[in-house]
């Protein structure tokens, strides 16, 4: 984790993180591009996938991430059953010496939407096994509550399907999840550009996980910086308390003292 912890840190499982941005590394075109995006985003954690070793790969992704003071958050991407996800998480714990896991159990190949039944089952097993479980879930408040009940350290509802960049399709559900949650809510998936990340924070999310929006942007480093600023702005706006929406106008200048009246 980065050395500097802000005055308003995100706390997950008792650990204060240095940033409310989590960066997914999928889709990054080069180690240098990833390095610059990580720095620009100010991310506290970066996700990595667990895959069979490629004997031809020389660079170490984990060394790159940890060398920047960023924590490695392994994921279980590609798993479609609880059993696969649990084994993947256990391998990740052994490989990266961390009990934290972004739990992903996918139920549909086209939409990559999570399978809620397998997800809750996997979460329950991993919590019992001592993991700090951060589940990627749908935007269903009931599933989010179940995940919290089985001991997840956060819930990570999607804004829209992975990689779509469609933004937050059901902001009301995200607000419902935020309103009931006793653990941090991390908006994960669907973010397309900085305004989406800002909205997530304004809705009350505690952090945002972005991957494709940064890694597949024309300028990943530039977008990473935009995400950092958007998350900070959204958080500040949330804490400042937005005005109530009104149907009709309400003048901000005084009605009294107008000329000719």
């Amino acid at each position: 984790m980065a050395a500097e912890t802000p005055a308003d840190p995100l706390v997950v499982a008792g650990t204060a993180l240095s940033s409310r941005v989590l960066l997914g590394t999928g889709g990054m075109t080069s180690p240098d591009s990833l390095r610059r995006a990580l720095v620009a985003s100010g991310a506290a954690l970066a996700t990595v996938a667990v895959r069979r070793v490629d004997p031809t790969t020389r660079h170490s992704l984990v060394e790159l991430i940890e060398g920047l003071g960023v924590g490695v958050l392994p994921n279980t991407a590609g798993c479609s059953t609880a059993a696969e996800a649990v084994l993947t998480a256990r391998l990740a714990r052994e490989a990266f010496d961390t009990a934290w896991v972004k739990l992903e159990v996918i139920g549909d190949d086209r939409t990559l939407l999570p399978d809620p039944l397998e997800l809750v089952a996997a979460a329950e097993q991993l919590v019992a096994d001592g993991f700090v479980v951060l589940p990627y879930c749908g935007d269903d408040p009931v599933v989010a509550r179940r995940l919290e009940q089985v001991g997840c350290a956060a819930v990570m509802p999607l804004g829209a399907p992975i990689g779509t960049g469609l933004g937050i399709r059901n902001p009301h559900n995200i607000e419902l999840i935020v309103e009931q949650a006793g653990v941090p809510v991390v908006l994960d998936a669907g973010i397309g550009t900085a305004s989406d990340a800002c909205v997530a924070m304004e809705l009350g999310c505690d952090a945002v996980l972005v991957a494709s929006a940064v890694t597949r942007a024309e300028d990943p480093e530039g977008m990473a910086g935009a995400m950092r600023d958007a998350v900070a702005a959204g958080r500040a706006a949330r804490l400042a308390g937005r005005i109530t929406r009104r149907f009709h106008a309400e003048a901000s200048s005084p009605a009294a003292g107008r000329i000719g009246r």
Binding site: G24, T25, G26, G27, M28, L34, T47, V48, A49, V50, R51, R52, V53, D54, P55, T57, R58, S60, L61, V62, E63, V72, P74, N75, A77, L87, R90, L91, A92, R93, E94, A95, F96, K102, E104, A211
Partner: protein, 72 residues
């Protein structure tokens, strides 16, 4: 997928012949440039790094050797 009874094992989906008595540590050294950031499962069970040296890879075993890849 299961290797026949000729002493071969399956490593990351590919058949591989091993010198009898090869340990997990020995197999990792054969397959990986560096053992850092690597984890191993034999027959669907994780073998802790601390046990690599004293765990032989049994004939016919299905072995997964994994590390970090960009993702998620």
């Amino acid at each position: 997928m299961s290797a026949a009874g000729d002493g071969a094992v399956v490593v990351n989906g590919t058949r591989r012949r091993l010198v009898p008595g090869t340990t997990v540590a020995g197999l990792v050294a054969e397959v990986c440039p560096s053992p850092r950031g690597v984890a191993v499962a034999v027959g669907g069970e994780v073998v802790p790094r601390s046990a690599w040296d004293r765990t032989p890879v049994p004939p016919g075993a299905e072995v997964e050797i994994v590390t970090a890849a960009a993702g998620g």
